[in-house]
């Protein structure tokens, strides 16, 4: 079962339906059932500060930090930004990944960055199975990881920014796979593959590198 965290913002149902269309069972969670979940998704659109506040009320940071070595976690859009430490939009993140969230500087271009754009997946990264593609973005802020090695894919809009990040079992995509057609389905399948791999091994050992669930 995939737990889709409900921070009371945005369109969560479309994420649940996207997993359902792939034959996976997904449920909305306000923090309950996380320990049993085989995969956790942190979706979200909206304001960083409001989402961060809600996450703090639910005590998500310590719980996710505890689970992050065992259970694959996928942050989507604002959910990816929440994985970092803080945002210029205001608020403290979950600090599962080192780095900040900063305003997208796209001089002369319409903002927010809205629409389909190229995703350039890095070899060996989280999106390797899905490859390069075109995905749907809606955002005005971007992640700035302290360690560039966690970037799994890039996109450009005025400047180059991470389209996907990945460290161990913690993954994030700045675009919306649930609204990115066939490419989005490929990205969610990539996540589900990791979920299947991890749940089969029933999390017996904790890999600090998080490269394997066995």
């Amino acid at each position: 079962m995939i737990a889709v965290l409900d921070l009371g913002i945005g369109n969560l149902q479309s994420v649940v339906w996207a997993f359902e269309r792939l034959g996976a069972l997904a449920r909305l969670s306000r923090g309950e059932g996380l320990d049993e979940a085989e995969g956790i998704v942190l979706p979200g659109v909206g304001h960083f500060g409001a989402a961060a506040e809600r996450a703090a009320q639910l005590g998500l940071a310590p719980r996710l930090r505890g689970l992050a070595h065992e259970v694959p976690l996928l942050g989507i859009c604002l959910g990816m930004q929440l994985l970092f430490e803080r945002s210029e939009e205001g608020g403290e993140g979950l600090a599962l990944l080192p780095g900040d969230v900063v305003r997208l500087a796209a001089p002369g271009l319409p903002l927010p960055h809205t629409g389909w754009n190229d995703v350039e997946a890095l070899p060996g990264g989280f999106l390797q199975g899905a490859g390069d593609g075109e995905a749907y973005f809606v955002h005005g802020y971007v992640a700035q990881p302290r360690n560039p090695a966690i970037v799994a894919a890039w996109t450009s809009y005025g400047e180059r920014f991470p389209a996907a990040v990945s460290q161990g079992r913690v993954h994030g995509v700045q675009f919306h796979p649930e609204r990115s057609g066939a490419y989005g389905r490929a990205v969610l399948l990539r996540f589900l593959e990791e979920v299947a791999q991890c749940s089969r091994s029933s999390r017996p050992s904790i890999s600090r590198e998080g490269t394997s669930c066995a």
Binding site: G10, W17, P110, W116, S180, A182
Partner: protein
């Protein structure tokens, strides 16, 4: 590079898709979920669903219809029609819409745009603006084109941007359903007024019409209805023609 978007629009009334000319003479076209799914398969970049009688009938879009459309859709969905408060907007988003389109209620109470933007984020707020050419400028109309407002486009768009709108859907009432092409002058004016993404609407029939509109800086999407519903175009055929005209549209579907 950001792709230019081809956006089929489904005008619904009483839960079925309809098509009018100059916002009148409605004809029935079919089930919104079926049509939305068909257009996604053809390679649509987004779907817009507008309940065009909701505002004047004092209703909001039927959440069951929104859910039926959204559940099957793997691309973004914008829903509009009669959304006059945060609760109504929240209900449509909860039913599976990614964005709402605000029109008449925002003109009556501009604070609605700010409220929606604050609660749900600017990315969820599309401001739909219906204009008619008047003298040397453009007059904003409400209630499906039937009500002349005190607003001129020059004043309304910057106001909406400062209130927190995330996108502008600009419809020319003069061109709606006429197949004469988008009102490029209105689009150029709008693109000089705001830095938001603009979607062109009203009057498209040919790939050339889309290419011309999408060449205007800031215009990143083109709305299509009649030429898809009645033919002769599919989204896929339109996309191919646009590519051959050098427009940067999505390659893979």
């Amino acid at each position: 590079m950001l792709k230019r978007r081809i956006i089929p629009c489904l005008d619904v009334a009483a839960d079925v898709v309809v098509k009018g000319v100059r916002f009148a003479d409605l004809r029935l076209l079919g089930d919104p979920a079926e049509l939305a799914h068909r257009y996604e398969d053809q390679g649509a970049d987004e779907i817009v669903l507008l309940d065009i009688t909701a505002s004047r009938e004092g209703r909001t879009p039927n959440p069951l219809v929104v859910e039926r459309v959204a559940r099957r859709l793997g691309i973004p969905l914008t829903v509009g029609g009669g959304l006059r408060d945060a609760a109504a907007i929240g209900a449509v988003l909860a039913a599976g819409a990614d964005k709402v389109s605000l029109n008449s209620p925002a003109l009556r109470r501009p604070g609605l745009v700010a409220e929606a933007s604050r609660r749900f984020g600017a990315q969820a707020v599309v401001l739909a603006v219906d204009v008619r050419r008047e003298g040397g400028g453009y007059r904003v109309y409400a209630a499906g084109g039937s009500l002349r407002t005190p607003w001129l486009l020059d004043a309304w768009l910057p106001t909406a941007q400062s209130l927190g709108a995330g996108e502008i859907l600009l419809t020319s009432i003069d061109r709606d359903g006429t197949r004469q092409g988008y009102d490029l002058e209105a689009l150029r004016l709008a693109s000089g007024l705001v830095s938001l993404p603009i979607i062109a609407s009203g009057g498209a029939a040919l790939p050339r019409h889309l290419a011309e509109a999408l060449a205007v800086p800031g215009v990143t999407g083109a709305l299509l209805a009649g030429v898809l519903h009645d033919g002769p175009w599919t989204v896929g055929a339109m996309r191919q023609e646009l590519r051959s005209l050098g427009v940067d549209v999505r390659a893979a579907v």
